[in-house]
Symmetry: C2
Subunit: 109 residues, 2 copies
């Protein structure tokens, strides 16, 4: 029950702020790139999220445009594209984590 209140306040904060408005899929991609060990490929993310590859490609287009992630060719197998982290992405997620944990504190108190 408190979990729902946590979710409410955090989602509310996310919707309200003007800053980049990411879809659930884009957010899932971003979080997985930053919080799970590399390498990250399109195919891997597609199967992990249970969505099609083009959906991942489009999410990466958007995230790259925002400079939250970066694409890099895999030199050992040039068919692959490796997704890498960026400074902006790190900052964005740190901020977001701060919001969520701040909300959690408020609820606990």
């Amino acid at each position: 029950m408190q979990a729902l209140h946590l979710w409410r306040l955090a989602v509310l904060a996310g919707v309200r702020r003007e800053t980049p408005d990411l879809s659930a899929r884009q957010m899932a991609v971003l979080l997985n790139v930053y919080l799970t060990p590399p390498p990250h490929t399109v195919r891997g993310l597609a199967t992990l999220l249970n969505v099609s590859k083009p959906a991942i490609t489009r999410a990466l287009d958007r995230l790259s445009e925002l400079e939250l992630v970066r694409r890099k060719a895999d030199e050992s197998d040039r068919r692959n594209v490796l997704i890498q982290r960026t400074i902006k992405g790190s900052v964005f997620l740190r901020d977001w984590g701060g919001i969520v944990s701040g909300v959690a504190q408020d609820i606990a108190a």
Copy 2:
């Protein structure tokens, strides 16, 4: 930091399940209708979420179609539309709360 891992797992669970795929705004509307005291109006939700009224109308179209909320005319002022809860909505949010708190438990352990 754990907050981000919590968020990652919960978003991942949300994206993976085939069932109704709600946008952040729709989710925000749904959560506020269920977790804050009534009455809930379009204008009230619009200002709370800091989005336009049509955006709320469309979110309610979608949520009504899924039978997660219900619109009801305000008899005392027929310009108003009151948003009410439904059984399906309660079940949906209870399930979601279960997922989030389950993830939280896993992280704590």
